[in-house]
């Protein structure tokens, strides 16, 4: 799974938009959307919101959690806690990136939000690395990590799994290998 796939999943999240056109309900496989009344907030999936936004057919209303105060709170909590704290949205990083890249004009204090989300992300990734480090150094067989988002898992998965495999190989080589090595020595 690569990040673009995760992003694709994130696009199924729902956001509010304020359309500037009027359209009846549209019936899609994923469910009915609309009706769209100009000026009236309506909930649509992110992919549609972005599409409409790119065509300048709507304004995107930022999700509730995408607010400087709330994010500051979350960041502080995240820094304080040892473990992972619950995140405002399972796709917070993806949504922030998508919405801020495409609709930063609709979101007040976009830069601050970007920074805050990046801070949260960095903190969490640092925690993740740290826990991976201690996991490996203590040679644990399993570990429990709560409140991780898909994207976060995804960033570390390929590397971690590969390196674990490698290490396993190295280690398993080491023990019999030590004898084998000896035998080679012989």
């Amino acid at each position: 799974m690569d990040p673009s796939e995760v992003e694709f999943l994130a696009e199924k999240e729902v956001v509010k938009i304020i359309p500037n056109f009027s359209l009846d309900k549209i019936y899609l496989i994923g469910g009915d959307l609309g009706p769209f009344n100009p000026g009236m907030p309506v909930e649509v999936p992110v992919w549609l919101a972005l599409n409409l936004k790119q065509r300048q057919k709507c304004r995107i209303v930022q999700p509730e959690w995408m607010d400087v105060d709330k994010l500051e709170e979350i960041r502080d909590l995240e820094r304080k806690e040892e473990t992972f704290t619950p995140v405002p949205s399972p796709y917070y990083m993806e949504l922030t990136k998508l919405l801020l890249n495409h609709a930063s004009d609709n979101i007040p204090k976009a830069d601050e939000i970007r920074t805050l989300v990046k801070d949260i992300w960095d903190t969490r990734i640092a925690k993740l690395r740290l826990s991976a480090d201690s996991f490996i150094s203590q040679q644990e067989a399993h570990a429990k990590l709560d409140n991780l988002t898909l994207m976060e898992i995804n960033t570390t998965r390929s590397f971690l799994l590969n390196s674990l495999n490698c290490m396993y190989k190295l280690r398993s080589n080491l023990q019999p290998g030590s004898s084998r090595g000896k035998s080679q020595d012989y």
Binding site: F21, S22, N37, P38, G39
Partner: protein
Amino acid sequence: MPCERKPMRYGHSEGQTDVCFDDTGNFIVTCGSDGDVRIWESLDDDDPKSISVGEKAYSCALKNGKLVTAAANNTVQMHTFPEGEPDGILTRFTTNATHVAYNSSGSRVAAGSSDFMVKVVEVSDSSQQKTLRGHNAPVLSVTFDPKDEFLASASCDGSVVVWKIEEQTQVISWPLLQKSNDVTNSKSLCRLAWQPRVAKLLAVPVETTVQLYQRDSWALVSTLSDDLGTQPINVVAWSPCGKFLATGSIGGLLTVWDVEGKLCVDRQKHEKGYTVCGLAWHPSGTQIAYTDTEGCLGLLDGLSSSSSSSTMAIKSTKPAPESYDDLFDDNDDDRPMDEGVSESGSPAKNLVALDDEDDDDLVPATGRARNRSAFLDDENSLDPGSLKLGLDKLGNYEDDAGSAIVLPAASAAPLHPVYEGPMPTPHQKAFQPGSTPAHLMHRFMMWNSVGIVRGYNDERDNAVDVEFHDTAIHHAMHLTNSLGHTLADLSHEAVLLACPSTDELASKLQCLHFSSWDTNKEWMVDLPKGEDVRAVCLGQGWAAAATSALMLRLFSIGGVQRELFSLPGPVVCMAGYGEQLLIVYHRGTGFDGDQALGVQLLLFGRNRQQVIQGEPLPISRRSHLSWLGFTAEGTPCFIDSEGVVRLLNRSLGNTWTPVCNTRDHCKGKSDHYWVVGVHENPQQLRCIPCKGSRYPPTLPRPAVAVLPFKLPLCQTTTEKGQMEEQYWRSVLLQNHFGFLSSSGYEIDEEAQSRAQKEQQELLMKMFALSCKLEREFRCVELAELMTQNVVTLAIRYASRSRRMALAQRLSELALEKANQLQGPEEEEEPLQYTRRNTGSQRQTQDEEVHEEEEEGQDEQMDEGDAAENRRQRLNPFAKGSPASPDKPSPKPVNKEGRVNPFKVSGGTGRSSAGGQPRATNVLDSMTSSSRKPTVLLGSSVSAGKLSKTPVLKPLAPRPKSKTQSTLLNMSASKAANKKPAEEREPAVDRLKPTEALPPASPADNVENTKPKTGFQLWLEENRKSILADNPDLEETDVIKEAMGRFRNLSAGDRLSWTERAKGDEGDLKKRKRAEESQGDDNGQNHSDENSAKKKKPLDTSAKLSAFAFSKN
């Protein structure tokens, strides 16, 4: 003014302060939130002595050289005075004390605390304590009865309590104040004060007034108030003589009252308008020291003392009317008074002199005032002739103080009457609905369903932004606002802007007509000099401007000046929609916070008319208009500052119905909803939630929220209330269909029929509920609201739940409805033809038709004499129609049927009162023939297609027999007491089909044939054999017998019968379809109706089982 306001000086840091004089009057003592007590030798004392008593000092009291303070360390401490040595702690609380007070002798101290308690402590021995418990919130203030018997305290729980100190019990408690949770949050400190010496009155500051309560009777004897005091009064203090009362208010207004005469003898304004929180009289009564919440100390000097002569008092009161009393002619007032003062040494003589003068030129004014001066009770009222008597009485009352004190008051009274009646409300300013106030730098000049007009007016820029919700209308515009437009409106066609006149420039109206097809998209009009635009609005093809000259100017959207007319009053706001113009203006002056608004609704269509002619606009009490407009469907609607949304109910004589209260949805007290649009279909109130304000800011861009409507019906928590609310809401919000169609717009018929269906379903549910609750009368009332088809269902429901009396009444009702239904239909037809022929008159006739329809609806609702009228009107048709050639009547059925409806309708016509006995008669005559229809089944079905006129009522029999048998099915299988019920049953069935069927569209047949059971089929075939076996059996017995036999059949047989019944039904359906197609030919305007009806009964009958009421 003899009293001189000395400049304030800084005493303490910001916060609550208190002040008192020492016994000799040589020192002023203040305490403040810096925790210091300062002793000032005079106001000019540059180096006051400071005593630190704690972190904060809330209150202080001084007597006999002992200074008591309430400090933040939860104690009440004592210090020697003037040395300032600590002298021990009097008492402690669990939290800080809020107020301390000495009794008159200085032997006791009372302290109120935030821990809800009041303690009374002996100064000499602090172990002698009395605790008064009973307040439910922090105590605001305490005061001793000068006679040491009682103690009064005020608390944040809103109560003012008088305690008997010895018994530590409450004597009386008045809920006078606004509740709060803490002293700091309390609006007023509510410092109580007991009249010194005579101890007769207790002064309680309540809001902006001071209420005086009489000792022992504890009755409210008087209220001191004046219209200048708009802010709550914080503190009150009696003059040492007990004659004057000083008050200090939140807004810094200091007032001195002559209590006897209820006169304001002096008013002073705090120089900075800070809240006065401490007030003390000099022991001589010539000075008042006061402190404010900013920690400053001030002094009023030169007040007339109580012991000085009465003329002094008069003198001191003289300036008051000059400066404040605009209700009376000042000059007239002054002259007699001056003379009186100069020529008289004796108060009594003075009075006489005054009287003479008064009689000459101000009789009414003084007469009134004098009466008012006797505030004690009716007994004491003075009339000019018996002044002496009045004085005696006053003297009696004032037993301790003596009449010397009374006299000046009585004499002063006539000169300064205080008007206490209802106060006129200032007129609400004109505004644009959907705009935020003009003084804001960034504001919404208009937010409506089309778009948003924003105005910016700051240093950088003076501009107007126009943005459309739907960019398909027009792209956004940015205009420089060099003219300083303040008013705006926006429609699909144009932007209308208006600015007030300036010194050089006239008031202008600017219109950006962006939908114009030529290249000139803009026009501008100057108003005549001296005329200012107050309100503007746009309609379809026109613009309107109301001006300060009470004129309404109409323009075409292209800039042609059209009609103008005068408005009955200053405009408040206007709204346009299509061809409707809604104007709200001031009808007059309201009183006590109410606005007196009038409303006009004009139509500019082809038939111009005034729909609402200046009727009063019913807004909530003490509120003003905050939004006016039309719903998206064109119904006038307005919202007042209390958040109540009212909608015009066109079907109830243009009354206004409250449909929503936005305040119900607010979370906080200061939250509001700023409405931007109202939609009836779907039912939505579109508004912007404003946290802690009335108006939204322009940035960040506010988001629209949607509120539901809710009629304020009673008991909407109960299921009944809920359904009633839903029903009437649906009825109300469906009115616009009628209006739209009448004014020639297309209407969403699907939505309309959906709404109607919803209503009928609700009615049916309510019906079921009432049935469940055994409210049969209510059931009938509900049935009166139903359409005829649903009544049929209701009858079925009633008979199924074995309420035969109800079913019978319902069937009568159904008949009436049937007749009614036919009346309008017949009348409508000719109208429609004429409409087609005469195009020019089309509009008016549409109107008529519409009215007709509405009338019909109304009648269904109130179902009275009018119904009978209709029936009479109908009769000629009924008679005439048999002759009509295109409706041949099938013979046997017809004959019988034709008789029946006449019988029945004749009966109903005869009496609405004696319906019951008549009905039974009818059924007696009919029961014998009840078998026949069953046999004639086939023929009657084929006759179904010929339905529609009264003649064809005969087809009734078929369905009747069927329902009958289902009924019997049930009753036979149950109930020991079925006999009497059964007797009625056939009658009910009889009546019902005949009545129900007349409109007799195929739909009815569909409905009626459907529930054919296997047993019925079996019965049809086997009836003969049963009859042969028992020739003497009655109809009901035949069925009973048949039931028995049917039950004796093997299960397999029974199943096969049921199977057959199903097959039959399918057959019938097919046949029905054929009939339908024929029925369609009957007339195109009926075909719609038919299809609608068809749909409905099918659905509803399918849901009938669902109506089996679920709640217990």
